[in-house]
Subunit: 206 residues, 2 copies
DNA sequence: AGAAAAATAGCACGATCGGTCGTATTTTCA
DNA sequence: TGAAAATACGACCGATCGTGCTATTTTTCT
C-alpha cells in the first residue's frame, strides 16, 4: 500500500473517533491535525474538501458497523437466534460507542435531518439498509415458524431501533445504570408479541 | 411589561425556532440578529453571554412542552385515557416540531451528551422529569385497575420514549409516510402487553 | 418638559474556521 | 543513484465566531 493511502486511512480513523464526539460538522480540520501531530495543510492535502473527509468517515463507520454488528449475526442460525444476536450486537455497539462520544449514526441523524447533501443521502441510505437488514432477519423467524406468518418484519425493525435509541439516551445522557436491563426487557416483550404462541405465565413486570 | 423584557422574550422565541434547526451550539448570534433585523450587539446586550441565551431557549422549550403536551393530558381522566392522550400529544409535538427543525430535546440529547455544563444539567433534568411524568401517568393505569399491578411504570416510560424517538427518525430523516402509523401500532402493542388481560384475537400484524 | 435610565447600534478585538499556494522534504522507481 | 512524483509544511486569505467598549437613540419617570 502507498504510504499516502496508509496515512489517509489513519486520518479517517482518527476523524471517526473525533466525529463521534463532536459530530461531522463540529469536526475541525485544525483540531484533527493537532491531535495527530501533523500540519493542517498536510492533512488537508489528502482530501479535496472537508465534505470528502466527512463522507469517508461515514463510509468507514458503515464498514465497521457491518463487520461488528451485522456479520457476526448472520453467522447465527436463521430465526430468533439470529435476531437475538443482532440485537445484542446492536446494543453492544451503542454501548461501546458511548465510551468515546456516541453512536455516530444516531448523532448524524439529528445533525443532518435538515441539511441536504451527499452526506445526508449516504446517511439515509445506511439507515434504510439497517432497517432492511433487521426486517430481513425478522422475516427468517417467520419462515422458521417462530413468528406469526401475518406479522410485519418492517414494523419489528421500527420498534427494535426505537429500543436502541432510547437505550442510548438513558445510558449516555441520563447515565441510568438500568438502561441496558430496560432495553433487554423491552426487546423480550417485543419478541414475545411476535411469536406464534404467547405463554400467559410471562408478564411485563420488572 | 418593560419594552426590554418584551424584546428579550421575542429574541428567545426566535432563537428557539433557529435552535430547532441548527442546535444550540450552531445557533449564531449574528445570524439570529440578522433574521430579526436588529444589530448583533443590540441583541447581545439582552444576555450576559451566549450560554445565558441558550439556557433561556431551553427553558422556553420546557414551558411549551409542558403546556402543549403534558397539561392537556392531565385534563383527561386517570388511566389509559390519560396515557393515550399523553402519547398522542407527544407524537403530535414531535411531528409539528419536525416542520421547522426537529424536536429540540432529542437534538440536544446528542449535542450535549458529551458536553458538561449548565445546559446539559438542565437538559438531563427535563428528560428525567418527562420520564417521571409518563411513569406517573402509567401508574394511574395501575390504580385504575387497567394495568397489571406488578408492572413497572418506569419501564413503560422507557419504551414509550423509544417509540417517539424512532418515529422522529423515520418521519424526519427517512421521510417514511407510514412512520406515524408504525408509532401508533407500536404504542398499541405496548399498552396491550401491560393490560391485565390480553385478548388472543389481537395480533402484531400490519 | 427635562433628566435619568434603558435599549440599541457601530465598531473593533482576538480566535478559529475551511481552504489556497509556494516551497521544502521524502518516497518511489527506472 | 538521480530524477520525477508524492507528500508535508508554514504562511496566509476572507469569513465568521462570541464578546467587549462607546456613542447614540429611545423609553421611562418626576
Amino acid at each position: 500500500m502507498n504510504k499516502g493511502e496508509q496515512k489517509r486511512q489513519d486520518i479517517i480513523a482518527h476523524a471517526l473517533t473525533l466525529a463521534s464526539q463532536v459530530g461531522l460538522e463540529g469536526l475541525s480540520l485544525g483540531a484533527l491535525a493537532t491531535s495527530m501531530d501533523i500540519s493542517k495543510s498536510g492533512l488537508f492535502a489528502h482530501f479535496k474538501s472537508k465534505e470528502a473527509l466527512q463522507i469517508a468517515v461515514l463510509e468507514l463507520a458503515c464498514e465497521r458497523f457491518a463487520a461488528e454488528v451485522i456479520a457476526p449475526a448472520l453467522a447465527q442460525p436463521r430465526g430468533e437466534r439470529r435476531l437475538n444476536t443482532l440485537f445484542d450486537n446492536y446494543i453492544g455497539w451503542v454501548r461501546d460507542q458511548s465510551n468515546q462520544g456516541s453512536c455516530i449514526f444516531m448523532s448524524l441523524a439529528h445533525e443532518f435531518d435538515d441539511r441536504p447533501g451527499e452526506i445526508r443521502d449516504l446517511l439515509v441510505k445506511s439507515w434504510r439498509d439497517w432497517g432492511g437488514t433487521i426486517a430481513r432477519v425478522a422475516a427468517t423467524a417467520i419462515t422458521e415458524g417462530e413468528f406469526r406468518p401475518d406479522c410485519d418484519p418492517a414494523q419489528f425493525a421500527f420498534e427494535m431501533i426505537g429500543i436502541a435509541m432510547v437505550f442510548e439516551n438513558a445510558h449516555k445522557l441520563l447515565g441510568e445504570v438500568q438502561a441496558e436491563a430496560r432495553a433487554r426487557m423491552a426487546f423480550k416483550r417485543l419478541i414475545r408479541s411476535y411469536r406464534l404462541s404467547e405463554p400467559r405465565s410471562q408478564t411485563a413486570s420488572h
